[in-house]
Symmetry: C2
DNA sequence: TAGCTTAATGATCGATCGATGAACAAGATC
DNA sequence: GATCTTGTTCATCGATCGATCATTAAGCTA
């Protein structure tokens, strides 16, 4: 072991007196991982231990614990929905099956995430508004346009409904729930199963799918 | 207001000195509703308030809070899987679509339940063994036989996989998750949507569905 | 109705929670 | 290198947690 106090040896850890913005970001980053693991009832003391700081320091950056949780909500909420997706869904120069495959590939890469899945579930159980806002936004900007596109591409013999879309969506999301909530075995790369689900879905409306 | 001490007027409430078995059952019943609402971190004092007894009484019937939670697990776990379902799934005198429709109608009537859905999710997030035992049992006794029956009934052009079954299952379960976890609007009577999902699923394997 | 069993209460313990404020010290400024 | 700013620590508060135990009283029995 070298001398622990070497300046360059502790670039990441054991640093004191950080700039406020950096410290605040560091707290939120660790809080996301911490609350995702133990739930929103995790204590400020254990979070402080993981950060290597004292518990009181957290309350220098967040007046209440609820403020910290709201900051965690904001962090996990961000970057989870791409602004490019609405245009992708409506891009009729590509087959609807290809559009849905690409969308759910990108979507899955963002939500099949341990921290996101668990914090989203914890906040949902706690009755937070985060979930309703997120799901309403998802429905209005992505799922309802997707429904319209599938209707346009269908053979009109049977017309898809919004609940049909939710069923497809739920079947895909359930992969992440099995993996991160129930900790059950799931496919390493779920794209193949996603494409199969999309193909089955589109096929029932007379549309060719991606798989 | 009448005299509150009337003997017949307080048949249900304000009864003291119950037989131990009756009191224990009463505590577990209320604990199921209580923990389903506020989570497994709900306090023994608030539970006692809802029961109209003192907090210390709960620890006369359960040595630790964890013992009470285990009793809650046992209560919600029971009666959630019918012993008749394996035979139903394998009953080839009926079309596979009809079998799956009946199964998921009965299954939905048991799991689209506020207390069950939430306690199952709370326990899953807490890492309890309940969820893995339940899902493994569900897979082995019901979903894998269902996969085999669908394969038998299919036109063999495309062969269904276990992940396909999970996708169908997840799409159905997701209705309950939207309703009881996220508290979003869902169909009052989901049987129609369930049958549509089954029909889409079977149709993609060349099988006629229930809807 | 007196006596006995025991279900239930009331008081309290030690630990832990979120939150507060005084004291300290790291690091920039001159 | 002395001084000042402020990020951080230390000590502590009141509330609340699960859990314990002596005391009380409901309800059966003789």
């Amino acid at each position: 072991m070298e001398a622990a106090s070497s300046r360059v040896a502790r670039v990441e850890i054991d640093r004191r007196r950080l700039p406020p913005e950096e410290r605040q970001q560091q707290i939120v980053d660790e809080a996301v991982r911490f609350f995702a693991e133990v739930g929103l009832d995790g204590t400020s003391r254990e979070l402080a231990n993981r950060l290597g700081v004292t518990q009181s320091l957290i309350f220098k950056y967040f007046e209440t614990k609820q403020d910290l949780i709201e900051a965690v909500y904001g962090r996990v909420y961000l970057e989870r929905i791409s602004p490019d997706w609405p245009a992708l869904i409506r891009d009729r120069s590509r087959p609807i099956g290809e559009r849905m495959s690409i969308f759910y590939r990108d979507y899955g890469s963002r939500i099949f995430d341990h921290d996101w899945m668990r914090i989203f579930m914890f906040s949902g159980l706690a009755g937070a508004e985060l979930n309703k806002r997120y799901l309403n936004h998802l429905r209005q900007t992505l799922l309802e346009p997707m429904l319209e596109e599938v209707r346009q591409a269908s053979d009109r013999r049977t017309v898809p409904t919004m609940e049909d879309i939710w069923s497809l969506h739920g079947g895909i999301v359930y992969i992440g729930i099995r993996q991160h909530i129930y900790r059950m075995p799931t496919p390493d790369e779920p794209q193949h199963e996603i494409d199969r689900a999309i193909t089955r879905f589109l096929g029932s409306f007379g549309i060719k799918g991606p798989a």
